[in-house]
Amino acid sequence: MSHTIPAEPEEKQSSHTRRMTLNMGPQHPSTHGVLRVVLELDGESIFKATPDIGFLHTGIEKQCEALNWHQVITLTDRVDYLANLSNNLCYSLAVEKLLQMEIPPKAQYLRVLLAELTRINSHLVWLGTHALDIGAMTVFFLCFREREDILRLFEMFSGQRLMTSYIRIGGLALEPPRGWEKRVKTFIDGLPSKIDEYESLLNTNPIWLKRTKGVGKISVEEMLEIGLTGPCIRGAGIPFDARKMTPYSSYEKFQFEVPTSTDNDVYARYECRVREMRESAKIVQQAMAGIPEGPVQADAPKAVLPERERMKTQMESLIYHFKIVTEGISVPAGEVFQVVESPRGELGYYVVSDGTAKPLRVHMRTPSFGNLQGLPNMIESRGIADSIAIMGSLDFVLGDCDR
C-alpha cells in the first residue's frame, strides 16, 4: 500500500504527447473493491499501469496464528466473501490431511455440491457486475435474482447467507435440513434455462461483442509466467483445473468437462465461466442423484465437535466437547499445501503445524492476488475503457487479494 503519488514524467514532451498520471480508485466503482491503479496516460491510452493493493489487508494470516484450529474456519469465510465455502473446504482439507482423517462419503458429496453452488454464486455476481461495467444493466438484475436463490439455500443449510462456516474440520457443521433436496433440485433444474436467458442478452449484443472480443490478449506463455489461474488461463486454452488434475473430496467420481477456449480475450473468459456454470449444475445434479447414506462427520471424537444431542446426553461426548472448546485440538507436526479450484482459480492453503493447538502458519495462496499481478501486462497500451472490461474479466475480489 503506497501513499505517494508518482511524480509527473520529467522529460520535456511536446504538448500532444504529454503524459498524465491518473489515479483509478481506490473508490472507483468498477474496481470492485478498494483497488487503486495508478495509470500513466498518453491521451486515452494507458502507457503504464501500477496496481496498488493492501487497502483491505486485515491481517487474517496473523490472526490465524492466534486462534485454535477450529476457530480459523470463521476467518477463512472472510478471505473471499464470494467463495466462502471454497475457502472453508480448502482449509478443512489441509487440516484433515495433517490429521490423516477419513471423511464419510456423504459429507464429501455434500461438500462437492456446496462448492459447486458457490461457484455458480460467484460466477453470477461476476457476470452481473461485469456486464454492468460494460453497460448491459439488465443482466445484473437477472443474475442477482438467481444469486438470491443460492443465498437462501446457504441460509437453509447453515443459517447464514454469506459467512456460512458450514464446512468444518472432519465434515460438515450440521446434518443438512429436512427438505433440502427438493429446494436444491428446483433451483438447479431451472438454472440452465436462466443461463440461456443471460446468453440471449449478451451473445448477439453488438456492443458486448465489440467491447469484449479481441480485448485483453496476452500470450499463453506470458500468462503462465505471470501466474494467472482459473478461467483466465482456461480461456487461453490450457485445461488447468485442480478438480481434474489433483481431485479432492471425491471429484474423481463426477463426470464433467473443463471448458476451455483458445481466443484468450475477455470474451473467451466470459464464455468459459458461463459454460462452467452449466458444468457445475451438472455436478450438483450428479451429487444429488448419487448421494450416499451415512453420517456427515468423521468418527474422530478427539478432533470433531460432537453432535449437540449427544453432547447433552452422553458423558463422554460432553468431556470431548469441553476439551475441544477449551483446549482445542492438537494437530500432528507437519506441513501441507492443499489446492482446490475456487471460482477464481487456484486456491492453495499452506498450513504448518508444530503439534500444538494453534497453527504455526496459515498461508493463503489466493487466486485474486495471482491474477491481479497480470493486470499491467493486459491493460498497458490499451484504452481506459478496455481496462474496465479487462479488470472485470480477471474477476478479482480484493478481500481475497489483500487478506
Binding site: 503506497s2 496473523k62 495433517l98 488447468f240 489433483t246 499452506y350 502458519r361 495462496r365
Partner: protein, 150 residues
C-alpha cells in the same frame, strides 16, 4: 511420484516426502540455480513464495517456494533457511516473473530481503509502517496503537 534426480545433489541439503508432498531443502546461496534447473524441467508455474517464522529457533526463517509443473502434473516445495539478523536470499524474479508480488509480501510481513528484486517495497502495510507483522515476536493485538488516545 517425482524422480529422485530432480535437482543436482550439490544443491540439495535434505529431501523428504511427507503426506505425498515432496520437500527439498536447498542451499540458500544456490536457490537461483535450483529454480533455473526446475524451469528447464517443465516446472513452468511459480505458485507462491512465503516464509515461516520458527522464532526463537535459529536460523528462524524458512523461505518456502511452491512450484508446479502443469505439463507433468507435479508439485514440489523448496525450502531455504535464513537467519534472524538480516535475513536475505536472492530474488526469484529473474527466473520467474510471478515471484514479484509474493516476494514483496514476504518482505513486507516478514522482513526478508530478496536481493535483486526490482521493486522491493511494502505491498500490504502502509509505507510508513514499522516492523514486520507476521513475525512471531510481533504481537497480535495492541502494537504501537493506543485506542484510548483517540
Amino acid at each position: 511420484m517425482l524422480p529422485e534426480n530432480l535437482l543436482d545433489p550439490s544443491l540439495v541439503l535434505n529431501t523428504s516426502t511427507a503426506l505425498d508432498e515432496l520437500t527439498l531443502e536447498i542451499v540458500p546461496e544456490k536457490i537461483l540455480e535450483a529454480l533455473r534447473a526446475l524451469k528447464t524441467q517443465k516446472f513452468e508455474r511459480f505458485v507462491s513464495v512465503t516464509a515461516v517464522d520458527r522464532y526463537p529457533m535459529e536460523p528462524r526463517f524458512e523461505v518456502v517456494y511452491h512450484m508446479q509443473s502443469v505439463a507433468r502434473n507435479l508439485r514440489v516445495r523448496l525450502k531455504c533457511r535464513a537467519t534472524g539478523d538480516n535475513p536475505k536470499i536472492a530474488s526469484a524474479t529473474v527466473v520467474y516473473a510471478a515471484a514479484n508480488w509474493y516476494e514483496r509480501e514476504a518482505f513486507d510481513l516478514f522482513g526478508i530481503n530478496f536481493e535483486g528484486h526490482p521493486n522491493l517495497t511494502r505491498i500490504m502495510m502502509p509505507d510508513f509502517w514499522q516492523g514486520h507483522p507476521l513475525r512471531r515476536d510481533y504481537p497480535v493485538h495492541g502494537h504501537k496503537y493506543d485506542y484510548k488516545s483517540e
